[in-house]
């Protein structure tokens, strides 16, 4: 480090006399070959310590029987890997994660599109619609789960209470294996769709007005303008939103953990919760790390495939 600080100093000394020419000749390329590194260094330090290092260390854990409770650590080869790859509960949690993704992505793309179309057309309600549709996005996850858990309460909640008023017996919501995942997906859509909605809204409002005006002169009605102009011009935005939502949905954990704790009967336990359960409840760090790596690889494959697909569309 100290060696580096010496390096630029001699260069600036002669340079300062001829500061102007130096700036003219070589404005952006290497004012000094080390300067850029100094700017990048703080980020790299944090990056190395809190991301790369844990990633490397975690990989090392996968070959040991290290426990969060302490005790002797011994090398056990690929045991953790074979255990996580043959564990039926691991595949169940992978399926739950995938099921959540399959349910939530189309819902949260279409809902966002519909809300943005409403906002784009009902201009006079603009601020009210933006407030109402986006506000849930800024809620802490626990606020969301407290409120929805209360509304979903089978005997005392708003939903079944209101249904009961009409003589309908409502479902068990979060307390039944059949409905728990759907309930979580609905709550998640309410909470997180606001971001997709804003992306759509911004894209719609950047469509030039004269395109619509020209179509209106040609006699195109409101629905035709949506179908022939708005939607085709939003293809890229839709792809972007779908990619972001897919990656986001695959990483689901917090709201499900808080609402159902993975239940009933593990029907909603996601991969990240299984990793958490294995590491922080079962205390088996090695096993949890190998699961984390299996999942990380799957996510990276999904992300890269999506970005490939997306950039091809773009080009």
């Amino acid at each position: 480090m100290t060696q580096n600080t010496d390096a630029p100093a001699p260069r600036t000394a002669p340079g300062s006399a001829t500061a102007a020419p130096r700036g003219l000749v070589d404005v952006r390329r290497r004012p000094s070959s080390w300067t850029g590194l100094w700017f990048v260094l703080p980020f790299l330090a944090f990056y190395a310590l809190f991301l790369l290092w844990p990633a490397v260390v975690g990989f090392g854990y996968t070959f040991t029987d290290r426990s969060l409770a302490g005790g002797d650590i011994s090398f056990i080869g690929l045991d953790n890997w074979s255990e996580s790859l043959t564990d039926a509960a691991m595949y169940d949690s992978l399926w739950n994660t995938l099921w959540f993704t399959i349910l939530s992505v189309p819902l949260m793309v279409l809902l966002a599109l519909g809300m943005a179309l409403l906002t784009d057309h009902a201009r006079r309600l603009g601020w009210f619609l933006r407030l109402s549709f986006f506000a849930p996005f800024v809620l802490p996850v626990t606020v969301m789960t407290l409120i929805w858990g209360w509304m979903y309460n089978p005997s005392l909640g708003l939903f079944n209470g209101t249904l009961g008023r009409f003589g309908i017996e409502g479902p068990e919501w979060l307390f039944s294996e059949d409905t728990a995942m759907f309930s979580v997906v609905i709550a998640t859509a309410w909470w997180q769709v606001g971001f997709n909605y804003l992306l759509y809204l911004a894209a719609m409002q950047s469509i030039p007005k004269d395109v619509y005006e020209a179509a209106a002169i040609d006699g195109a009605g409101a629905w035709q303008r949506i179908g022939r102009i708005t939607l085709p011009m939003l293809t890229r935005t839709t792809a972007l939103i779908a990619v972001l939502q897919l990656i986001g949905s695959l990483r689901v954990f917090e709201q499900i953990y808080l609402m159902t704790n993975g239940g009933p009967n593990f029907a909603t336990r996601t991969v990240i919760q299984y990793i958490y359960d294995s590491g922080f409840v079962g205390l088996r760090i090695g096993l949890a790390s190998s699961m984390a790596y299996v999942f990380m690889v799957l996510i990276i494959i999904a992300s890269v495939a999506q970005f490939r697909l997306f950039s091809r569309k773009e080009g």
């Binding site: 850029g36 700017f39 980020f43 975690g58 006079r124 800024v138 005392l156 409101a222 984390a292 990276i300």
Partner: protein, 299 residues
Amino acid sequence: MATSTPSAPRTVQGPATPPGRTPPRRRRVSPGAVALYTVATLAALVWLVPLLWAFATSVKPEGETTVMPPSWLSANATFEAYASVLARGDVLRWTMNSFITTVIVTVLTLVICVLAAYGFSRFDFRGRPALFALVIGGILIPPQTLIVPQFVLMTQLGLVDTYWGIALPQVVAPVFVFILKRFFDAIPRDYEDAARLDGAGPVRVLWSVILPLSRPILTAVGIFTFIGAWNNFLWPFIVTNDPEMMTLPVGLGTAVGQYGIQYAQVMASAVLGAIPLLVVFLLFQKHIVTGVAGAGIKG
């Protein structure tokens, strides 16, 4: 459909009026517009139901919250539940913890990401392409998969149950380096050349040329870092055991257990937990909307 027909004759005179404006508002309200505004209003109201219901529950006397069928208004509305929650003090304590850690995360993230983006955007140095690729690759790693080794690291550093332990792992945001670099790349170099001719060094150029031109993107990154850090659950949940050190989202997660079936108090604590960021949102609504637009469309 019907809405556009009346405007057709008017557009003939259109060129006389300044262009770029939508055709003048029709005086007669068309059935299409009525339907549109009705649907939009209903949708917005439905979307507000959870928040309104939380508030409605929170101002009921504890005995009325479980009366079936549910009613939206209570004749005996009271802020008793809020008083009880606030009297315990923990919600305020958690809010303060959230505020401190969120400010640390936001400031540090902005500083290191801006510096790194500037370094990558404006300087050539040995290993730059490889380092940039390394940073970009980090976007793909889901931070949730690193919780176990990160927790072990924090134990070794003695940072469990501390503000720094909550904040530090959250400041690594490779995606913001990427977004900021793209923004800096688009700034014409001419401005800097002028500053450089006046003898400004790299830090000076960043501070007085690049940053002022980047205000919208900095605001957007700042706001989203703030929201993300304030609402982060998993990491603070793992790195805190002491209720005194919990952040608001983590602490509220224990509320159901604490308040049991006192639903008015549970909902009062949820409303209190919602207020800080709702206020931030109302204050910065415009920046948030344009920020999403900028980050989403350019990024």
